[in-house]
Amino acid sequence: MDDQIDWDAFISASAKVLDIAISEDSRPIVRANLELAARMAKLVADFPLDEREEPAPVFRA
């Protein structure tokens, strides 16, 4: 994940969209969790999958 991401701006904007208040105490922990999630997401996204692969949950009518 790009080190230049402005996580604080992302957190502020997301918090507004989601209508969640973020205290200054929370902000660094939320950021650390998002940075970890981004590393996890990169690990997943870097793996080549067939674009026709189905997501695991399957709805049956």
């Binding site: 205290s23 939320v30 997401a41 997943v44 996204a45 692969e53 189905e54 695991a56 949950p57």
Partner: protein, 466 residues
């Protein structure tokens, strides 16, 4: 001479009650006395249902006097993680927020099923808030303490379940396991635990966490007790939409079949790294005890864990979004900020994780064409100290709370049945568990292997010395 209650297995208790050697009331009174003695220092229970338990015991004793049939768990006390509904008790799910809810109107399906086998509920157990936890710590109700060293974690999120059984307060407890929450406390507290196949046991009447990964199961000090509880809890319940339509497949009668015909392999690759020496040594001991030397590479297990981590973040956050908006200060701080971050995870990451899950499942299932059982570490280390935030694993510093389940997540992610078996290394003051993993619906095989390890003395779950 009557054996001490705390050392009795569920099987021994039921036999004593069925044979008239002990009354269910005497058992429950001994259980309540053990709780009164142990719980003030170990903090397993958030509610003791003493009156209900004694009333139930008297009904079982009366039925026996009249010559009525007694079930296979007659008089066996058990307790449940406090995310199980218990009639007239508020379902806390480890939270302060849910304490404002009305008491449950009925018992969870699995509580009803165990009581239908004449087991006796004695209370509800402490847990990590909303099950988002591997430590057993809780800011509202205090930590579940490890009976083998009360300054150490019980593991979570079914921490009270581990504490209650390892201290001899109950022979059986129920927990839930979304990413490892039965297997982690089983490892740290030195217990046998079973996370059945996803969809095997009904979840109706329990508080959810991540619906796609939530499992319920038993923890005990003997494999026979695990099997008795598991068998009693099987059966179709249309109230749980995720439950599979499987027939009853009792496994207790087949526990002693031994290892004949079973192909056993150690999980290599991801599982060879990242743990402390004790985690890997426990796997070696088990492989030696099983006379097995093969290994299999679980393909892309690290990515599987990453995908499980992401889906958990997002689903957990979605479940609690309204409470994060309106009652943020009432959360355990350790949980709140993870939920806030989870709400901000982009949807595309989650969809990719769910697609990866399909691929990963198909690849891991292929392993079972040539292997029946996979052995892997359960936790990367012995129980950390209560309050410890960071740990060093294989030279890398990382948060305790998120990483105690690094070896359990890749299997619950695809719903495989897993037993945890407790190993004591030479001279070690604390136990550590291994996972025994099978193909879907083969709980019989994983418990056969656990039973063999118990029978030859390689795995054991002694009551902690108080």
């Amino acid at each position: 001479m009557t054996p001490a209650f705390e050392t009795m297995t569920a099987h021994a208790i039921a036999q004593a009650v069925i044979n008239g050697e002990m009354t269910a009331r005497a058992i429950v009174e001994a259980c309540l006395a053990r709780i009164a003695q142990q719980d003030p220092k170990l903090n397993a229970f958030t509610k003791v249902t003493a009156e209900r338990a004694l009333t139930h015991a008297d009904a079982i004793d009366a039925r026996r006097r009249l010559g009525g049939h007694l079930g296979p768990l007659a008089g066996v006390p058990f307790a449940v993680k406090n995310l199980f509904d218990v009639e007239e008790v508020v379902t806390l799910a480890g939270s302060k927020i849910n304490a404002d809810n009305l008491p449950a109107g009925a018992d969870a399906t699995l509580v009803r099923k165990l009581e239908a086998a004449d087991a006796i509920l004695v209370g509800a157990l402490n847990m990590g808030e909303y099950a988002y936890d591997f430590t057993g710590e809780n800011a509202h109700y205090g930590p579940s303490r490890n009976p083998h060293d009360p300054d150490r974690m019980a593991g979570g999120s079914s921490g009270g379940s581990g504490t209650a059984v390892a201290s001899g307060m109950t022979p059986i407890a129920l927990g839930s396991d979304t990413n490892g929450s039965i297997r982690v406390p089983s490892s740290l507290c030195g217990l046998f635990g079973l996370k059945p196949t996803y969809g095997r046991l009904s979840r109706y009447g329990t508080y959810p966490f991540v619906s796609a990964f939530d499992h319920l199961g038993p923890m005990a000090r003997s494999v026979t007790d695990l099997a008795l509880a598991y068998d009693a809890m099987q059966g179709r319940d249309t109230a749980d939409h995720a439950q599979a339509d499987r027939p009853m497949e009792p496994i207790t009668p087949a526990l002693a079949q031994g290892l004949a015909g079973l192909r056993i392999a150690r999980a290599a690759g991801y599982f060879d790294k990242g743990g402390e020496p004790e985690a890997h040594r426990a796997v070696e001991i088990v492989m030696e005890a099983l006379g097995a030397s093969a290994s299999v590479d679980v393909p892309e297990a690290g990515r599987g864990r990453a995908a499980a981590f992401l889906i958990t973040m997002a689903e957990g956050a979605s479940l609690h979004l309204d409470r994060v908006r309106t009652r943020q200060n009432d959360f355990d701080p350790e949980v709140k900020d993870r939920l806030i971050a989870g709400a901000m995870v982009p949807a595309a990451w989650i969809n990719q994780a769910q697609k990866f899950r399909t691929w990963y499942r198909s690849q891991v299932l292929k392993l079972f064409e040539t292997t029946d059982v996979i052995i892997a570490p359960a936790t990367p280390c012995f129980a950390p100290r209560i309050g410890q935030k960071m740990m060093t694993l294989a030279g890398i510093d990382m948060p305790v709370r998120a990483n105690l389940g690094m070896f359990t997540q890749p299997f619950s992610f695809i719903g495989l049945p897993v037993a945890a078996a407790p190993i004591w290394l030479d001279g070690a003051p604390l136990p550590i568990g291994v996972q025994i993993i099978g193909a879907p619906w083969r709980e019989d095989i994983v418990l056969r292997v656990a039973y063999h390890l118990e029978t030859i003395g390689a795995a054991r779950a002694p009551v902690a010395i108080a």
